[in-house]
């Protein structure tokens, strides 16, 4: 079938693909607000195990996304070789993650929630966004200092099941189970450290009524998928279809000035072999 990604199979135009971001963003902000993530105290509370709503929602989103992504690929609906796969730059992502965590603890937001919180009038979110733009500006203006680090440690498109050698379905099941286990662990930690009163946390009856069916369904779907051989439809190494990776050239830090007119402009057709055709 291979209907999706819609824009790649020609079902919708590229302009419509971009315009669809508006309702999707609307739903995103809507969901963020109703989950309470526009409150910086809730986001920062996760790091004190005071309010673990944020990590629990993140884990559930990862579980739902991974089941959906690979499930749709298994069903033939989604052409997995056309989905943009995130390239892995291990060292910059690790260091970036650490700094990001520090920033989240100090500032109390992550970029998406900050923008959603601005709409509710919170001044601290506006100030956070100003600082955010400033940080990005600093990154760009002093790029030669960390330019080489930014491009170091490139692992192509490393996927977890390839790194550890498991089958894909097994890894999906493990991730779903880890998400459930992590959520339970964090909730237990919240109950232990903060003794939140019973009306603020879900009672056992509510959990059984609302959450347990969904969790059981997710585990069941993932378990079924774990025993389906996936080598038939998953590309062995998904090629990220655009990596702007400049080949060769001297290290950036050694150049006296950041070259504005580099010979390997991405739009060139005679590009290095790493380039893939994009949109």
């Amino acid at each position: 079938m291979d209907l999706a990604p819609f824009v790649k199979s020609g079902l919708i135009s590229e302009a419509l693909n971009l315009w669809l971001a508006v309702p999707i963003g609307f739903l995103f902000g809507f969901g963020l607000y109703h989950a309470g993530f526009t409150d910086s105290r809730k986001i920062a509370g996760a790091f004190y195990l005071k309010d673990v709503g944020v990590p629990v929602v993140m884990f559930s989103a990862i579980a739902a996304g991974t089941i959906g992504l690979w499930g749709l690929g298994l069903a033939g609906f989604l052409d997995l070789s056309k989905v943009y796969f995130l390239p892995t730059y291990l060292a910059p992502m690790a260091v970036g993650g650490l700094i990001f965590g520090v920033g989240m603890a100090v500032g109390g937001f992550c970029p998406g929630t900050a923008v959603a919180s601005i709409a509710t009038g919170r001044v601290d979110a506006m100030v956070f966004l100003v600082g955010f733009l400033g940080g990005s500006l600093v990154f760009g203006d002093f790029f030669p200092v960390w330019g080489d680090f930014y491009r170091s440690d490139f692992r192509e498109a490393a996927r977890l099941d390839q790194v550890f050698g498991n089958s894909l379905g097994l890894d999906v099941l493990l991730i779903v189970l880890a998400a459930i286990g992590g959520s339970l662990l964090m909730r237990a930690g919240q109950r232990y450290f903060w003794r939140t009163p019973a009306d603020q946390m879900l009672s056992r009856a509510q959990v059984m009524k609302y959450e347990a069916p969904v969790v059981a369904l997710a585990v069941a779907v993932a378990a079924i998928g774990a025993f389906v051989p996936t080598t038939s439809f998953v590309p062995s190494r998904p090629e990220p279809y655009y990596i702007i990776e400049r080949q060769a050239g001297p290290p950036i830090a050694a150049s006296p000035v950041v070259r504005p007119a580099t010979p390997d402009v991405p739009a060139q057709p005679a590009a290095p072999a790493k380039r893939r055709e994009g949109c």
Binding site: L90, G96, L98, F100, G101, G103, V127, G131, Y150
Partner: protein, 77 residues
């Protein structure tokens, strides 16, 4: 709700919270550039794609957050 306020913990001052917001924002902005993504795009989507870098990114976010939580506790609790 639409309320113009500065949300902060019970022991923090408004100006202290705003200073923290600027610093946190600068660190987050820099780190989002360095890691080529933020939690929504790279963390959640990348983790759903089982991308190694995205998982490392997510784990490091939690590590960094938990490590600094103690030092900014006056801001939040």
């Amino acid at each position: 709700d639409l309320k113009v306020e500065v949300q902060r913990g019970p022991r923090a001052t408004a100006s202290g919270r705003l200073v923290g917001a600027v610093f946190g924002g600068a660190l987050t902005g820099f780190a989002a550039r360095l890691a080529r993504g933020c939690t929504s795009g790279e963390g959640l989507v990348g983790a759903a794609q089982l991308s190694l870098g995205a998982w490392v990114f997510l784990l490091c976010i939690f590590a960094g957050g938990f490590a600094t939580a103690y030092f900014v506790r006056k801001e939040w609790i």
